[in-house]
């Protein structure tokens, strides 16, 4: 149990995917303008990330490893992810138009969210088992969501600020992310491997 708790603390705070590991930054910059959309994106990412973390693990463990095809991991993982994403999108769109309104436009973006593939690859690198992979995926998504939501709330406040002309928009967002990452350095050392 503590092991899973440690994985969670580590992925959410200490080695936050966005601010420390630099994974998933494009959607982080792209869909953080409004709090509502950030929530939608967080939900969608959490779902897909956890699911694809599990699916990638299964593909690796039961297909690539037995056949000695580890070098095909990238292509098979990305395939798994693309399919999980697209399948989720179609199902959500049909079964819950309401949810689709919230999540729909974000789902395709997730395929190219490198956090998703990153989780799958890091699971390999860290030699995680099934449950560990699932928790790692979930933790990564939770960390992503936490920071994304905080960031979007901050951006909403910046929107009203008298930011110097050249810094309006993405430049100040970048700098804000930098200061966030600065603050997150405070967590370093919390988990001593």
């Amino acid at each position: 149990m503590t092991e899973f708790a440690l994985i969670l603390v580590s992925t959410v705070l200490v080695n936050n995917f966005l601010l420390v590991q630099f994974l998933g930054l494009c959607p982080f910059m792209g869909v953080s303008n409004k709090l509502e959309t950030a929530f939608g994106m967080s939900l969608a990412t959490t779902f897909v990330l956890t699911l694809s973390s599990i699916c990638s693990y299964l593909t690796y463990r039961y297909l690539l490893l037995p056949l000695d095809l580890v070098y095909l991991r990238t292509i098979s993982f990305i395939l798994v992810i693309a399919v999980v994403v697209q399948f989720t999108e179609m199902v959500v769109r049909k079964t819950s138009p309401l949810l689709y309104r919230v999540l729909g436009i974000f789902l395709p973006l997730i395929t190219t969210n490198c956090a998703v593939l990153g989780v799958a690859l890091l699971n390999l690198q860290k030699e995680h088992g099934f449950l560990q992979s699932a928790v790692y995926g979930f933790g990564a998504a939770a960390g992503f969501s936490l920071v994304l939501i905080l960031f979007s709330a901050m951006r909403e406040r910046i929107a009203g600020a008298d930011v110097p002309e050249p810094f309006r928009g993405s430049a100040i967002a970048m700098i804000t992310a930098g200061l966030m990452s600065l603050a997150f350095m405070g967590f370093s050392g919390l988990i001593r491997f």
Partner: protein
């Protein structure tokens, strides 16, 4: 060679399974319709002036949905561009000046004495805001006029003016502080000392 073969077979298997799942899902979970045009149209000012290069607001809404830049509507101006940016998740742009500039809201007024009753303005008006019959004097229904000024040009005797809507005590409101600094600084003794 066998290495290549297992690789190909394994991935092909995976791909076929996934392809099949997606193909199945695409049929099973099919939906139609694109509500985004309605949402865009709802944000456009409905002046129907054509400055965006489209015959009316809805065609422009369709064009935006297709990817045309969303900064072509002068009557909507900055507010509309911002709203569209938010809706579409696009960057906020400046109004494209080739399409015109943002001006205060106006209405058409026909100088009735000069009107010859040619009905051309009636044909030009996109919202049927002009009343009149052939050879009779025409008038603009002020509350319906969108201020698109499409009726001005066709008038053969140039009797239509676009006038700014004057504020009333009901429509007037305080401006953002600091907008009219000079005014604030001005000593208004003259106007008060009646």
């Amino acid at each position: 060679m066998s290495m290549v073969l297992t690789a190909v077979l394994a991935l092909m298997g995976l791909a076929i399974v996934f392809g099949a799942i997606l193909g199945f899902a695409s049929e099973r979970f099919k939906v139609e319709g694109d509500p985004i045009v309605d949402q865009i149209d709802a944000l456009l000012p409905q002046t129907q002036c054509g400055q965006c290069g489209h015959p009316g607001c809805r065609p422009y809404a369709e064009a935006i949905a297709e990817g045309e830049p969303h900064n072509h509507c002068p009557p909507g101006g900055e507010a509309t561009i911002v709203a569209l940016s938010e809706l579409l998740g696009r960057e906020i742009l400046e109004l494209d000046e080739e399409h015109g500039e943002e001006k205060p809201r106006t209405v058409a007024v026909i100088r009735e004495a000069e009107c010859i009753g040619c009905t051309k303005c009636i044909q030009a008006c996109p919202v049927d805001a002009i009343l009149g019959a052939a050879k009779m004097m025409h008038t603009v229904i002020e509350s319906e006029c969108t201020g698109c000024d499409l009726c001005v040009e066709p008038c053969p005797v140039d009797c239509i003016d676009m006038v700014e809507i004057p504020p009333t005590t009901r429509s007037w409101h305080y401006d953002l502080p600091g907008r009219n600094r000079q005014l604030i600084a001005t000593d208004l003794r003259g106007s008060v000392g009646a």
